[in-house]
Amino acid sequence: MSGNAPSSPAPEPSRHGGRVRRVRALIVKESRQIMRDPSSIALGIVMPVMLILLFGYALSLDVRNAPIALVIEQPSKMASEVAAGFRLSPYFDAQTVTSMAAAEKLMLAHEVDGIVHLRGDFARNVNDGDAIVQVLLHGTDANTARIIERYVLGAIGMASQRLRDEGIPVVGNGPVRLESRIWYNENGNSQYFLVPGLIVLIMTLTGAFLTALVMAREWERGTLEAIFVTPVRASEILLGKIVPYFGLGMVGFALCVVAAQVLFHVPLRGSFIVLTSVSMLYMLVSVGFGLFVSSVAKSQFVASQIALIASFLPAMLLSGFLFDIRSMPVALQIFTHILPARYFVTLLQTIFLAGDIWSVILPATAVLALMASLLFAATLRATRKKLA
């Protein structure tokens, strides 16, 4: 400050030391901004909590008048007792058919969400105390399927209770054994699927959306223009963005994992280390995408729209989180292969519900790693300390 350059030769800090100091300064700056900016906190912390509560609890709304098909292969007193239970229930809108084939047709046409199958030997088996009611549910909407399953269980339980009251001998748990199978979604507990799936949404949101937004904001407000004319390198500016938002995304991840374990008791059959590692990798992909978007689109509005449409919406709709990819049209199925979220959903579902199955984990991880490297390379190329 005092004295011109010749009189006070600027001490030349080692190249490396300067770099570390600059990146640290940018990270400190960004973290302060995150702490002070209500919208960052809202997106990074409040939003995950809201989503967890919403998806975990609020989506378990009552299902009323669920259309089901009741297959009664052979009319009997027992069967009509069960049928009456369904008809009287406010939860179902039951139509009776006589063959399984007819019921399956209805289910495929999506006219019914479930099939309750009373076999021809139902009445006889009730008397033997070993009746099996087969329940088939349309699992693309796992949540509804789960609710219907619970109601069917209830309705049949009531029927068996009435039978017991009428003096029919009860063996074991009851005269009726329920054998249920959910099509397309064998482990039909929606929370098991939804809560791990939320990790995808939250990490995409903080990684891609928030990062694209804050970077575009710097372009828009002209803060980058001033920063550019300092010894800082473009790669250091990127690093100063990656680290804090990576951290914020991992906080969201931690919230989801805790919620999954504590609130919803989702089993974690794989190892925590593998889970964290693949999540960190996905977070890198996500942040890389956000930075790439903002290196192309330099206005907040455009950057946030692109990030939303190209990352968040596909992550929600096409990743297999809400809708099973196998039930999508073939063209969409092929398209999902370029979505990083798809691989991450596969990884999450596998690690949470199945375990460390390396034949699934390794290929998906490899794809994500490739995507992360490509995105960072592209961003580094596109980010120059230039205004136009």
């Binding site: 400050m1 223009e225 300092t230």
Partner: protein
């Protein structure tokens, strides 16, 4: 860098093209050559769109030139921008402070980026804080500083370590006269005491005059280079003062003179008109007595610009139908007007009256309450207390009927950017309830009077700055209002556009339209019949420009200017009330 034989900046044949969103190619710089030596202050002067910002960004390595060579501190900026960026300080026009970081945190960030050690900071921070008077605000968030303080902080951030060259891009735009003077004191101090090399771009001609060297730019080209004297000399023997007939405002004579083919430039000054003739022996047939005066930088600059640009067109205009003249009546009457926002009093018992056909100026630093007063006058904001009569209507009782009789030009461009010029006019005509033939007539009038016909189909968002201003004014005049409110209409406008604007206002006033104007340019108060100076919501001084000028302290080297008077009035009031110099921009 005294040991460096090469100049601080050396450019030859620099060219730069830009592509507009429509695909149109714009030449920002055309064969620009310039040299800036080490040490001292150099100015880049020119009207808007001259290419000043582009040139400075090239020097900072933020853009790459299409043609030509540019070396900064002896380094080819196109080859090695980083080495230059390591050594220079650059303050963009809109300095990108991190608004949610405090003053101290912003400084620390730049100190870290520049690799300033902790020991060095101990030495430089107190100096910077002292110089910028930001010390007491170190913990305040940058976003909550006033405009002038933000600029000072921006400057401090570029000075965390002594740069070999400091590039400042219009650092005083939108800054009130007090803050502007403080910024200049800092810059001059740096140059004088520390031998810093500074290149500053500006459209304020008095600022250019203070620099050791100037480069005058227009339309992407360099018109002239040299010390300010060499520019001033262009107007040698051509500068005169003319006195208006008794009882007539100087602006009427000035507007007439501007239209005269023998006159290059004319501005009101101290109750008289300062003019520059096209040549020393050009005739001025307006039958006025001329007194020869020493030319100043502005005279030479305007003479240069007129030679280069087609600015011969007159901006005199007519409202159309004969305006209702009721001279002498009161058009606007404000009595003890108060506006509070929570506990904050933005306007504090302000009283004034404006007569029909007057041009009335509201002057004041940033945050003085000018815009709030305006919004109340236009019926956009209810007053907390006091009376307010506009065009004879009590605004607190009948806002709608008053609105029909006023026109309002907001500070920010408030037209629909995606609509074309003609669509905007059609929309506003409809909004004012004009229909049928009258609507057609008024739109045709606007296109003609504001010379918008050529650009009628262009989306208004793509209009050049001066034309936007014209369109905004045209829209506000469609319904032939008796009273026109203009909030900072000349902010960010260059000298040419400002003269054109005032010529229009003068014509309108002659037709009986009352104009109330806020402005940052103190010399523009000379166009007004009467002026009030506001600060912290209170009226500090009121009167004709001559009466206001009388507040200025005696000065040996120049006649007291409006700006001197303004600064004296505001400073005295602040001393008396012990009010802090800066208020946070709430």
């Amino acid at each position: 860098m005294t040991e460096n034989p090469r100049p601080a900046i050396e450019g030859h044949g620099i060219g730069k093209l830009f592509k507009r969103s429509g695909g149109e190619i714009v030449t920002a710089l055309d064969d620009v050559s310039l040299t800036v030596e080490h040490g001292g202050l150099a100015a880049l002067v020119g009207p808007d769109g001259a290419g000043k910002t582009t040139l400075i960004r090239l020097m900072a390595g933020l853009l790459t030139a299409d043609t030509g060579t540019l070396t900064v501190l002896g380094i080819d900026i196109a080859q090695d921008p980083q080495s230059v960026q390591d050594r220079i300080g650059y303050m963009p026009q809109k300095f990108g402070l991190y608004e949610d970081l405090s003053v101290q945190e912003n400084l620390d960030l730049y100190a870290d980026l520049h690799g300033v050690t902790v020991e060095e900071r101990k030495r430089t921070y107190p100096q910077l804080m002292d110089m910028t008077a930001l010390g007491p605000f170190a913990k305040r968030q940058a976003g909550r500083l006033s405009g002038g303080m933000k600029q000072k902080l921006g400057l401090a951030c570029t000075l965390v370590r002594a740069p070999d060259l400091l590039l400042l891009d219009e650092p005083t735009v939108g800054v009130d006269p007090l803050s502007r003077r403080e910024l200049w004191e800092i810059i001059l101090h740096l140059v004088r005491e520390q031998g810093l090399t500074v290149l500053i771009s500006t459209s304020y001609l008095d600022e250019a005059e203070r620099c050791a060297r100037t480069v005058v730019m227009h339309d992407g080209k360099v018109l002239a280079k040299g010390p300010p004297d060499s520019i001033t000399k262009i107007a040698a023997g051509r500068a005169f003062l003319a006195s208006p007939p008794d009882g007539q405002p100087a602006r009427q004579l000035q507007a007439r003179l501007l239209d005269d083919p023998g006159v290059t430039d004319a501005v009101p000054q101290g109750g008289r008109v300062r003019l520059v003739k096209t040549s020393a022996d050009a005739d001025v047939p307006a039958a006025v007595e001329l007194v020869a005066v020493e030319p100043r930088f502005e005279d030479g600059f305007m003479a240069l610009l007129h030679k280069a640009a087609d600015t011969g067109k007159s901006a005199s205009m007519s409202l159309g139908q004969t305006a209702k003249r009721h001279n002498g009546e009161t058009a606007v009457e404000v009595d003890n007007l108060v506006r509070k926002f929570g506990t904050f009093t933005a306007v504090d018992h302000v009283s004034f009256a404006v007569k029909t056909g007057e041009i009335f100026g509201l002057l004041g630093p940033n945050g003085a309450g000018k815009t709030t007063t305006f919004r109340m006058l236009c019926g956009l904001l209810p007053a907390s207390d006091g009376t307010l009569r506009v065009a004879g209507v009590d605004l607190r009782k009948a806002r709608a009927s008053a609105r029909q009789r006023v026109g309002y030009v907001a500070q920010k461009f408030s037209l629909y950017g995606q609509l074309s010029v003609i669509q905007n006019l059609e929309f506003f005509a409809g909004a004012y309830g004009l229909s049928g033939r009258r609507r057609k007539e008024r739109i045709a009038w606007a296109m003609e009077q504001f010379e918008l016909a050529e650009l009628a189909k262009l989306p208004s968002g793509q209009l050049p700055g001066g034309y936007r201003q014209r369109l905004a004014m045209a829209a506000a005049l469609l319904h032939e209002p008796e009273i026109l409110f203009l909030d900072e209409p000349t902010s960010g406008a260059d000298p040419l556009a400002r003269r054109e604007f005032w010529q229009r206002i003068t014509s309108l006033a002659e037709e009986g339209v009352t104009a109330i104007v806020t402005t940052h340019f103190m010399e523009e108060a000379e166009y007004c019949d009467r002026v009030i100076i506001l600060d912290a919501g209170q009226v500090l001084a009121q009167g004709t420009p001559a009466e206001i000028r009388a507040h200025a302290p005696e000065s040996e080297d120049h006649e007291p200017t409006m700006e001197d008077a303004f600064i004296a009035v505001v400073e005295e009031a602040r001393r008396e009330h012990g009010r802090p110099g800066e208020r946070s921009a709430a």
